[in-house]
């Protein structure tokens, strides 16, 4: 994932994974789930604007970002 454009396409996937995936270990988690939810909502708004631009053809189509 090197170019800016690849990162825009992959951002949805990154956020889904970092904030919604990964292994959960208990212990003294200080970044509360509610904080993460807020971050998620904020970032999703950003992504929606990128996705909309893409769907309207403002960003070139990418068949694969691998």
């Amino acid at each position: 994932m090197t170019t800016i454009q690849e990162r825009e396409v992959a951002l949805v996937d990154l956020i889904d994974r970092l904030l919604g995936g990964g292994v959960v270990v208990a212990g003294d988690i200080t970044l509360a789930a509610a904080d993460v939810d807020l971050v998620y909502v904020h970032l999703r708004a950003l992504i929606t604007s990128v996705a909309t631009a893409q769907e309207k053809g403002l960003l070139p189509h990418m068949g694969s970002a691998v």
Partner: protein, 215 residues
């Protein structure tokens, strides 16, 4: 304070020196920790985390840890890992030698007025005709997206479907793919894209196995 970012085997290859990471050995596993991120979870901070985990993933198997797992110190990290030692070991074995690929299938256009009109050849028709024509287009499109999944899943060790995001996203799947099979998987997606002009296939990765770390 430290951020717990990944669980790996112990001993493993040395940690990349440039990243200020710290290895905490715990009963045959290593908890990889980083200095606590000072910034809130901005896009840049998320990408930095991803780059760090990808650097680790280059030469070892790992379980990425849920973002935001912040602990007091090494001892707290060791306690957290010990509590789930058995599950973590089993999960690490499950993802060993594999990476995650993400596929999203998006409708290239909205099956709205224009295409529904085309199907009637411009004849005057009732509202019911219009709704039927549109439903038919949507059903065909959704079936096309679903049929993509089956051949891809045979190349994967495991897969997890997530709810697609309406209105245009039709399919959202994470695949756990053996490292040597990634090239073949990518080629199959490229072929599927060529034979599906009405769909956009967005394949990203290889990702650390975020979607397969928990059952």
């Amino acid at each position: 304070m430290i951020d717990l970012i990944a669980i790996t085997d112990h001993p493993g290859p040395p940690l990349p020196g440039s990243l200020s990471l710290q290895a905490v050995p715990v009963d045959g596993l290593t908890a990889v920790c980083a200095p606590a991120e000072r910034e809130d979870a901005t896009v840049d901070a998320l990408w930095r985390r991803e780059e760090t985990i990808e650097a680790l993933m280059a030469d070892r198997d790992l379980l990425p840890v849920r973002y935001g797992t912040r602990l007091e110190d090494d001892a707290a990290a060791a306690r957290a890992v010990t509590e789930r030692r058995a599950e973590l070991g089993a999960a690490l074995d499950r993802v060993r030698g594999a990476v995650e690929l993400s596929l999203r299938v998006i409708a290239a256009d909205d099956p709205g007025e224009a295409r529904a009109d085309d199907e009637t050849g411009g004849r005057t028709r009732s509202g019911a005709d219009y709704i039927r024509a549109k439903a038919c287009l949507v059903a065909r499109r959704d079936a096309g997206a679903r049929t993509l999944h089956e051949p891809l899943s045979t190349l994967a060790r495991a897969s997890v479907k997530r709810p697609p995001r309406p209105p245009l996203e039709l399919l959202r799947v994470a695949y756990l793919v053996d490292r040597p099979a990634v090239e073949g998987f990518t080629a199959l997606v490229a072929r599927a894209q060529r034979s599906s002009p009405g769909l956009r296939l967005l394949l990203t990765g290889p990702w650390p196995p975020y979607s397969f770390a928990e059952r």
